[in-house]
């Protein structure tokens, strides 16, 4: 356990620089976005009301009030989120391949540690999970700050104030900030199962190289099939026999099966098949 935590710490530190860049970039771009979007709206207000002398009422009917939703749908806001997601998806692969490639093959060291190789696997997965939660948390802290700036910049009569709850309910943000614990389990649990699956697929490739890519793809397809089996059976064989909640619990069970399969297979490959 002790060595596991040391590995988590070690792996996290290896990602730290890039991670801080991601966080910094998110803060910077979103702040720029908040200011630009607000100013853009204000210039519309000035143009229409003060130059074209449009009545305020008509302006509000035509352009609507300004709300955080305007910002949340801007490139400046979604761009960094998409970039962070893309970076983490790439890092799911890179966290393994960086140990094999490059001048110093660090995987030798990792595999010669007097600890189970499964700890290396779990430590890498833990780091990915912590990084996801970290970014989501940073964004959550950013919302009130950004909201405050909006309130400063936009006069009250043109602003629909959104609460934090209101912000996290803006369409795509509800996936990042689910409103119930069950949904949280569903989205984040599902995401982590996918990470474990990809890890094991990577280990297939690292064990059998070119043939391993095929094994990895077959393994993923098989896992997905198991995971989706309740939905498939319900839709195609039973003509929607189950209640949504029943399906939900069956999905949890198949999800756990796939998760256990991924970890067990990963452990087996690490112990018996993997090559440096």
């Amino acid at each position: 356990m002790n060595r596991f935590l040391k590995l988590v710490n070690f792996e996290f530190n290896r990602f730290l620089k890039l991670y801080l860049v991601l966080i910094g970039m998110t803060i910077l771009l979103q702040m720029i976005g908040v200011i630009l979007e607000s100013r853009h709206y204000l210039s519309q207000v000035n143009q229409s009301i003060y130059k074209e002398l449009m009545p305020k009422q008509q302006f509000l009917e035509q352009f609507g009030t300004f709300s955080f939703s305007n910002i949340a749908h801007s490139f400046w806001f979604m761009g960094p989120i998409a970039l962070c997601i893309a970076a983490l998806v790439i890092y799911v692969f890179f966290i393994w391949y960086r140990d094999w490639f490059g001048k110093n093959t660090f995987i030798y060291r990792l595999f010669m540690l007097p600890t189970s190789r499964l700890n290396v696997y779990m430590a890498k997965a833990t780091v990915i999970f912590l990084c996801i939660l970290g970014l989501v948390a940073v964004q959550l802290l950013l919302f009130p700050l950004e909201n405050r700036i909006v309130k400063w910049m936009i006069p009250n009569e043109f602003l629909s104030v959104l609460s934090l709850n209101g912000i996290t309910n803006i369409d795509y943000l509800t996936i990042l900030y689910p409103s119930s614990f069950l949904e949280f389990i569903l989205y984040y649990g599902g995401g982590m199962i996918a990470v474990f699956m990809v890890f094991t697929a990577i280990l297939f490739e690292r064990s059998f190289r070119i043939k391993g890519i095929i094994y990895g793809i077959l393994y993923c397809a098989f896992s997905l099939f198991i995971f989706l089996a309740p939905l498939l059976v319900n839709t195609f064989l039973l003509k929607n026999y189950f209640y949504p909640l029943e399906l939900f619990f069956m999905e949890i069970v198949t999800g756990l099966i796939v998760l256990a399969g991924a970890i067990w297979t990963g452990h087996y490959l690490l112990k018996n098949k993997v090559r440096v």
Partner: protein, 229 residues
């Protein structure tokens, strides 16, 4: 004792090891000799469970390798296995964090002996100094067995002398060492046992002292006989 018993290994259609068997005793320096591509590195990786074997057994003190075994045996590959971004002192911390058998006193001693600077970054070291750090990290472990893969490759003559000096010192004494090299001249007088490998099999395994005394032949003489005869 490290026992390699009838080990076979294929890479795709090519069989690299065709039933390799030899033993390496504690307190002795065993040298695996063979031309490049003969599978010496593969044997070392197989002993460390860094690559799977197709058949055969490898036993370390009568047991198959377990995670605890890595406190008893260490492998010094031909390239350093630490992150280039680390300073030498970071590498020390890493080793101390993960290995119970890490011996910091010995590490300091070797640091002085090799005239290395703890604050240097691994990526900025010369080739020779990188090789010395690599060696240092392995030698500073309190282990019974050390595997070294080509410790002299690409190293200048003075560094080479320093490294051979290590072999005759208390740093090696009592331990079991398996070493691969194709520059046998440098260490011929140091090795206790030679294992000649060709074409995936052991063609001769002999005690260098005995052969020297009884037949008056050096390791190179025997190699000449075996490979050319």
């Amino acid at each position: 004792m490290i026992e390699v018993k009838n080990v076979t290994k294929r890479f795709g259609k090519k069989t690299v090891l065709k039933g390799i068997s030899f033993t390496a005793e504690k307190g002795e320096i065993t040298c695996l000799i063979g031309i490049n591509g003969v599978g010496k590195t593969t044997i070392m990786k197989a002993i460390m469970a860094l690559t799977p074997i197709d058949s055969g057994d490898i036993l370390i003190d009568g047991e198959k390798i377990r995670k605890e075994t890595y406190e008893k045996i260490t492998f010094i590959p031909d390239a350093i296995t630490m992150l280039p971004s680390m300073k030498i002192s970071d590498a020390f911390t890493f080793m101390a964090d993960f290995y119970g058998g890490w011996n910091q006193l010995r590490a300091n001693e070797l640091l002085q002996f090799f005239r290395l600077n703890e604050g240097d970054r691994i990526s900025e070291l010369s080739k020779g100094n990188t090789a010395k750090v690599n060696l240092l990290l392995g030698l500073s472990m309190d282990v019974d067995y050390i595997l070294m893969d080509e410790p002299f490759s690409g190293i200048d003559i003075f560094s080479r002398e320093q490294i051979t000096e290590v072999f005759t010192s208390h740093l090696i004494e009592d331990r079991g060492v398996i070493i691969t090299t194709h520059e046998i001249n440098d260490i011929e007088h140091l090795i206790d046992k030679a294992v000649l490998i060709d074409n995936g099999v052991v063609i001769k395994e002999f005690n260098t002292e005995e052969v020297r005394e009884n037949e008056g032949k050096s390791v190179v003489d025997v190699m000449r006989e075996v490979y050319k005869g």
